[in-house]
Point group: C2
DNA sequence: CTGAAAGCGCTTACAG
DNA sequence: CTGAAAGCGCTTACAG
């Protein structure tokens, strides 16, 4: 049996006894005043009967736009990107756009192939702008959590403010020897964390680790085995912080008595293990980025917001009850750089 | 300044001094034997110079296919779906397809709108087949972790075998009063877990909870406050198990001494908190589903695999060292139902 | 109120 | 070896 092809507007026209253009008119909802109500009803009935759905490829070609935005992420594994997606998808939906995610997982080696979709714009998070070069065609682009020095507009977190507050918190607790469990990934957001930390803790000791519990454990073991053992470990990511937490346990060290531990992101993991962390408003990041992209699509120049972060204090630095401090700039919702 | 339109194959043809069809021929790689090498080079140079990329909408319309598959998930928040994506994306890439994710987050209320893309097929995980009715047009579909009674081929886990092994483990430890922290979501995969558990523990006490740490905490609190307090809590999901773990802590109960706790999925959270759980091979689920979809696209009837699961024993049920037991059928990689 | 026609940018027979 | 032409299925002026 041959695969039956889906019905087209021509088929609907034939079934309803009208022209194809009338079908298009009616089903696009622009018919009032141009097609009689009875004809419109005939068309809708026929379309329903045949199970007609417009061919998106044809519509996309004709209109020159797709109302589809693609969110590109370096990995889909990190829960951080789920929040980015939700924020971006909400704004997209409010404006009649749909959002799809595309990831080229590091787990997949082989040449990078862009997706085959026709899209109107792209949001790319936590990566180098250059890594998008393999994409099929250039489209309006907003970069999230990425180097603001590129060509594309950016939406970022106030990482420097976050590190200011985080080190302030640790200093206030009396910590002076601080170790850095750094993400072993060469992207701006992590370079930024290292620079902001080193600016405030010039003698910080750093160990690098791929982002996983195991590698975080190993890096923390190296730091905690030093003769001048750090009294606090600043980790680039909550997953690394969990590994560090396990390393402390394995060495019989009390957290936070012997060693304080902090993460970054504030994902479920940090909450579950009560780890002090920097909360990055990921959902807001996604939302603001989508707004910026809509600006771009409308020919406007988007702002380049820098979103405030907050340090969420939990038991891994302070044995007393959780409380939250704002990072700095409570007077403004966020800052903008040009 | 007007938005410049991207170059088309016509522009490349003009620049190279050849016809548009020759451009298409050359850039599609089918030119050897039909176009001279020198002409081909001229075309490639011109294309490079203009930054030409074929318009995917036009290609999709012309070819009647897109080589794009869409993975539809009920939420993007659960790390389980990340693994499904990776498995499916790998197989897709191996066959020249690209995979995008589309989610209609529950957080977004308002009418469900399908995406606007032209796609060749769809993978839908952990949902009712009927909930896809709003999708723009019917395409070949494989359902994952979903009711095998629907029209579409399915790829599933051996949930019943998992529950057999899990209850066997708990029985062996002496547990008789078992509580069920059930996911308060009306989909097949959770109905299946409840049925499999009730078949083996007829007097199981159940409390329902939305999937989050907080709600899991509350449901577990209700179960653990009963006069006939369960000695084991089987949770439908690792997140719920974390909540249950916190409830036990809040009540001053020792885990696993006073109450054993198990989860489902085996995501990072379960590993970090050392919670005994049922490992669902999510990546394999995605891979097998993509293979089934490729079968469908090639006019073949795909198998309907049922993938084996395993119980990963950790400290939340057994204070001794971790060890892993296989669920049953070690002789076959998986089973298949017709 | 309705229909015939153009055209979006490709790919692929077909003609030369 | 190369080009002119058809056609994928829409939307939207345009003509009547």
């Amino acid at each position: 049996m041959p695969a039956e092809t889906p019905p087209t507007s021509k088929d609907v026209a034939a079934a309803a006894g009208v022209s194809q253009s009338t079908v298009s008119m009616v089903l696009s909802g622009k018919w009032p005043g141009r097609v009689s109500a009875s004809t419109a009803q005939k068309v809708r009935d026929a379309a329903e009967r045949l199970g007609y759905r417009p061919n998106p490829a044809a519509r996309n070609l004709r209109l020159g736009r797709t109302r589809t935005i693609m969110l590109v992420t370096p990995t889909i594994t990190a829960p951080f990107f789920s929040s980015v997606y939700i924020g971006a998808a909400r704004v997209a939906a409010e404006h009649g756009f749909s959002l799809v995610v595309f990831t080229w997982p590091l787990e997949l080696d082989g040449p990078f192939n862009g997706p085959h979709e026709a899209i109107d714009g792209m949001l790319a998070s936590s990566m180098a702008e250059a890594s998008l070069a393999g994409m099929r065609r250039p489209v309006p682009l907003v970069m999230l959590d990425s180097d603001p020095g590129g060509a594309a507009p950016t939406v970022n977190f106030d990482i420097d403010g976050a590190m200011h507050d985080l080190t302030g918190h640790l200093f206030a607790l009396g910590h002076r020897r601080i170790g850095h469990v750094a993400a072993d990934i060469d992207v701006w957001t992590f370079q930024c964390r290292a620079a902001a930390l080193e600016a405030r803790v010039p003698d910080v000791v750093t160990e690098r680790a791929a982002i996983s519990i195991t590698t975080g454990f190993e890096a923390a073991m190296r730091l905690l085995s030093r003769p001048d053992r750090p009294t606090a470990l600043v980790c680039d990511d909550d997953t690394l912080a969990v590994g560090a937490h396990k390393a402390a346990q394995a060495l019989g060290l009390d957290v936070p008595g012997d060693v304080a531990i902090t993460g970054f992101d504030d994902v479920l993991l940090a909450e579950a293990l009560e780890i002090t962390t920097v909360r990055l408003p990921a959902e807001q990041l996604g939302a603001r980025a989508m707004l910026a992209l809509l600006d771009l699509l409308n020919g406007r120049t988007p702002p380049r917001p820098v979103l405030p972060t907050e340090v969420v204090i939990r038991r891994s630095t302070s044995p007393t009850a959780p409380l939250t401090i704002e990072t700095g700039h409570a007077d403004t919702a966020d800052r903008t750089v040009s």
